[in-house]
């Protein structure tokens, strides 16, 4: 059945609902701009998820965790992590150790994806 699966990438983007996949692995809904298909587009959301997961796992108010992301014209992505005031110390850590650890993991991810990312705690 591999041939059927191959056809999941329709050449024309105008009828995306035609194939119903049981689970959407990589939510293609945001692919508004028709980029060249040769290189996979690095979604900033990917970078966000890592920080979001860590932050939500170490704070008392996970629902207040918010990560905004901006990419400037030079391709530098900035992640802005926002948490409840009482949780700020938790995501920063003693002498900034937790923030530094999050940055270290983010660097690995950025290196793998060949992008530049920085993390700010706001």
């Amino acid at each position: 059945m591999s041939e059927a699966e191959e056809q999941e990438k329709p050449e024309t983007m105008d009828e995306p609902e035609e194939q119903e996949k049981p689970e959407t692995m990589d939510e293609p809904e945001e692919q508004a701009e028709p980029q060249t298909m040769s290189e996979p587009v690095i979604q900033g959301a990917d970078m966000k998820e890592l920080i979001e997961y860590i932050a939500k796992s170490i704070v008392d108010a996970p629902d207040d965790v918010k990560v905004d992301e901006e990419t400037d014209e030079e391709g530098l992505t900035t992640l802005k992590l926002q948490v409840a005031d009482e949780d700020k110390g938790r995501v920063i850590g003693k002498q900034g150790r937790i923030a530094e650890a999050m940055r270290a993991l983010l660097r690995v991810k950025a290196a793998k994806a060949s992008v530049r990312v920085r993390l700010e705690i706001v």
Binding site: I54, A101, K109, K112
Partner: protein, 167 residues
């Protein structure tokens, strides 16, 4: 190994796997139980999560810094979720085990030298984890004792012959 600890090992493994996945590093995680160091004193047994993947270097980082950040975050997350502090050790392709073995050989070699020359010997400055291995290795030694001196980055282990009048 009690049940609670086994359970925590499972939780730790899941957290680590999630982190690796989110980092975009394809890798598998195996649990190893038991102490990393051979010592005369009883070292509390730890849970070691050993990571194997295509790119161990990127996870270890310069001087093992990325690895220690990964370990630190897993410990913090478990501490927060389970409200217990468990000394989870994260290793990549046996990097720490090899380092540990190398430090143990070094400790034995220096101890022998100190015994023969009957004068103290100061090792290179080392991080806490490494110093601890040296101390633990020589804790039951008949002819030498160890202590740490210096502050911060410059802190180092000094191996001292026993019976030397201290000043």
């Amino acid at each position: 190994m009690n049940e609670n600890k086994t359970e925590i090992a499972e939780v730790a493994q899941t957290i680590l796997e999630t982190l690796l996945d989110l980092m975009g590093v394809p890798a598998s995680v195996n649990q190893e139980h038991g102490a990393l160091v051979e010592s005369e004193v009883e070292v509390p047994s730890t849970i070691t999560l050993n990571v194997e993947g295509d790119d161990p270097g990127i996870l270890i980082g310069r001087r093992g810094q990325t690895l220690s950040c990964l370990q630190y975050l897993v410990r913090i997350i478990i501490g927060h979720q389970e409200k217990v502090w468990v000394p989870i050790v994260i290793d990549v392709e046996g990097y720490k085990q090899r380092r540990c073995n190398a430090l143990q050989s070094l400790a034995w070699r220096i101890a022998e030298q100190v015994t023969q020359r009957k004068e103290p010997f100061a090792l290179e400055p080392m991080p806490a984890f490494d110093r601890r291995i040296i101390h633990l290795t020589l804790v039951g030694h008949l002819d030498v004792t160890t202590e740490s001196s210096g502050e911060g980055e410059a802190r180092r282990v000094v191996v001292i012959p026993k019976g030397l009048p201290s000043d």
